[in-house]
């Protein structure tokens, strides 16, 4: 026990220091919130690095980015921190607004505080999904679509005109898809409303449609190589030639096209779903003023919008952003009129019913 006596001072000194840190903990967050910072949860490359550096230099506001890769995970993180989140700006897909709003996780967006709001294309800012309960809830920054991607060395453009090819024996074990997204697409492919808004008054029919889509995907399970989750995974599978075709978001595939990989994408004739990513201010955001300053700067010019498209491969929501893109970038982020005619946007009205049916169905497909 002698060593204890000899190190008493050291021990008490350390204990005192530790006590100080613990005692100060309640004040740390307040101090953090008062500093010139803005905390953002967003997807990889959504905030261009060059813009971030310039913004920090011009305003002195430090930009802290935490990457997210899934809407559900982001919702759960935010819900766990509510009602006093550490984040100021989150990235919510337009069709997920309702869930965030109902849970009081977002603050209504005061577009009057954003002098550059007019730089956004009104197709996105004035869409029916953009205004809920009489308020705007986010600034649309990028738009995307669920597409069919294919290796042009292995699959012909003619074959890729229909989702049929994804379930054909010819490409057995050479396909991949995000299973949850595919549930909506399969419903559309079979002639139903994948948003399930039409069946809000008929839950039994909704359940029967989800069961049909589930059974279809179980039946085709031996044809698929991989159920994946993120854009990087499908890029990797195409590069390694583990797959010949697959369902994907247009952004990661546009990046592959721009990198010169022999891949192309299409919206098949049966149609598909589109979505819009928006930046939103969290309810009780600790640095709300800084968040508005950041958003206004981000919306300042179409070059920034174009830069976001170059970085992510998603379609810009800024007016005239395409003027600043290369020909290849323009090609990789645009669709023909025929393709766009089949594109519907995801809607949120029936989400509660839809996902209460789809989530267990996804587990059943995985377990089958």
């Amino acid at each position: 026990m002698k060593p204890i006596n000899t190190s008493r001072r050291k021990f008490l000194g350390t204990a005192a220091a530790a006590s100080t840190v613990f005692a100060a903990t309640p004040y740390i967050r307040t101090a953090y919130a008062d500093t010139g910072e803005v905390n953002i949860w967003t997807y990889d490359s959504f905030v261009p690095e060059s813009f971030r550096k310039q913004f920090e230099k011009d305003t002195g506001i430090k930009v802290n980015i935490r990457l997210v890769d899934d809407q559900g995970k982001q919702f759960n993180l935010l819900a766990a921190e509510a009602p006093n989140p550490t984040v100021d700006i989150v990235t919510v897909a337009g069709h997920r607004f309702l869930q965030f709003i109902d849970s009081e996780l977002l603050a209504p967006m005061d577009s009057d505080r954003l002098s550059n709001w007019g730089n956004l294309n009104p197709i996105y800012t004035e869409s029916d999904w953009a205004t809920i309960n009489g308020h705007k809830w986010g600034a649309p920054i990028l738009s995307g679509a669920e597409i069919l991607a294919y290796n042009t060395d292995l699959v012909s453009a003619e074959e890729a005109r229909s989702w049929d090819v994804l379930f054909s024996e010819k490409y057995k074990q050479q396909t991949a898809y995000i299973i949850q997204d595919m549930m909506s697409i399969v419903m559309l492919y079979k002639g139903y409303d994948g948003n399930m808004v039409e069946y809000l008054d008929d839950p039994e029919k909704a359940a029967a449609i989800v069961a049909e889509a589930r059974d279809f995907l179980i039946d085709k399970k031996d044809l698929v190589r991989k159920y994946y989750d993120g854009g990087a995974e499908i890029q990797q599978m195409f590069i390694n030639q583990d797959i010949a075709l697959g369902h994907a978001w247009n952004g990661p595939i546009a990046k592959l096209i721009n990198d010169g990989f022999p891949v192309d994408m299409t919206i098949p004739k049966e149609g598909s779903y589109g979505f819009v990513y928006t930046l939103n201010i969290a309810n009780n955001a600790p640095n709300a003023d800084n968040a508005y300053t950041f958003l206004n700067a981000l919306l300042a010019s179409s070059e920034i919008g174009a830069s976001m498209t170059s970085e992510t491969g998603f379609i810009s929501t800024y007016k005239d952003a395409s003027q600043h893109l290369s020909d290849l970038e323009k090609k990789s982020t645009s669709f023909t009129d025929e393709e766009l005619a089949g594109l519907k946007f995801f809607r949120a009205e029936a989400n509660e019913m839809k996902y209460s049916l789809v989530d267990p169905a996804v587990e059943q497909i995985k377990a089958a």
Partner: protein, 339 residues
């Protein structure tokens, strides 16, 4: 010679400076340092006398920090998870109330769809633990019994090098190795064994390969430690008594290494049940493990964390129960082996 003289001069000037500064430090005008002032106070002395009055108190003081650490950092999250598993909803919406329920545990027993990944996980874990043991035992044996003592550390370091990087990086390395354009397929193709790549990836094989690779170290070290302790004279004695190589291994080496086998298998089994990244990145549609099912409840937007928490508790309890039974079995085997 000149350098020695210069060094001596330097040392003498340094010591004279030190002695001067030491004298100056004891001058009457100097302030007593902060801790000196604190230790001189009556309150401090009373506190110290109280804390160090007995060896039991000193022990309590010493054990306090590790105890708090284990309680808050190790047990705390598990207990919180256990608590969440009994709630009807979590994260709790603002203004909403929660109630205690057992429904999340019942769901596991009611829905066969969730039992399938659980059984698959257990089957994988048993099979992969056994496979890891079979693969790693000869390596550990070679290292402990055939590599010269002075070279053993170098060999161990060589085996440890891949573990200097994280699990995810090593998993991606496996993807590079086993992909259609990966090293294995390219080698087989260049040697003329195959025309088209073999689809190793996204199969039970790639998951098994990954898990064995990721856990092999945790099997190797306990085995090496156990085998290294067995005196070579035991085998020599058995040999003198007429035992062949296989009999020597079966009757002498193996029983004496049961302790290492038990530790290695326990570690690998527990790790295998909880692996998430490797099955997600390397697995295919038919290799979904229970950790992925659990993660699904935490990823999907909503308040289904309690179901995920309940399933995590079920996996935790099942793994611990199986491990306890296995340890008991190995304990019996070990004592029988010693006899």
């Amino acid at each position: 010679m000149i350098t020695d003289v210069q060094n001596q001069q330097k040392q003498s000037s340094v010591s004279s400076l030190a002695s001067e500064s030491g004298n100056a430090g004891q001058g009457p005008g100097d302030r007593i340092p902060f801790w000196g002032r604190v230790s001189g106070r009556r309150g401090y002395q009373a506190l110290v006398d109280f804390l160090f009055a007995s060896e039991r108190r000193q022990f309590a003081l010493l054990a306090g920090i590790p105890f708090i650490w284990v309680l808050t950092q190790h047990l705390g999250p598990v207990l919180q998870m256990l608590y969440v598993s009994f709630l009807d909803a979590y994260p709790v919406a603002v203004g909403a109330q929660t109630h205690l329920t057992l429904k999340h545990y019942l769901l596991f027993f009611e829905e066969s769809v969730y039992r399938m990944p659980f059984l698959r996980t257990m089957t994988y874990s048993f099979a992969l633990t056994f496979a890891t043991l079979v693969i790693v035992y000869p390596v550990a044996y070679f290292l402990a019994r055939h590599v010269k003592r002075q070279n053993q550390l170098a060999f161990l370091l060589l085996l440890l090098i891949p573990f200097w990087v994280g699990e995810i990086v090593r998993t991606f390395a496996i993807m590079i190795l086993l992909g259609n354009n990966g090293a294995v397929n390219l080698l087989l193709k260049s040697l003329g064994f195959i025309d088209r790549p073999i689809p190793f990836m996204y199969t039970g094989f790639s998951v098994s390969f990954g898990v064995i690779y990721l856990t092999s170290l945790y099997m190797l070290l306990p085995l090496y430690s156990a085998l290294e302790k067995i005196p070579a004279s035991y085998s020599e004695a058995a040999s003198d008594l007429g035992a062949g190589a296989w009999t020597r291994f079966r009757r002498v080496t193996l029983p004496l290494s049961y302790e290492g086998v038990a530790s290695g298998c326990t570690l690998v089994f527990l790790m295998s049940t909880g692996f998430y990244a490797a099955p997600v990145l390397l697995g295919g549609p038919s290799t979904t493990v229970f950790a992925e099912t659990i993660a699904g409840f935490f990823h999907v937007a909503g308040d289904r964390w309690p179901t995920g928490a309940a399933f995590a508790c079920i996996l935790f309890l099942a793994s611990l129960t199986i491990t306890a039974l296995f340890m008991k079995f190995m304990g019996r085997l070990s004592s029988r082996g010693r006899r």
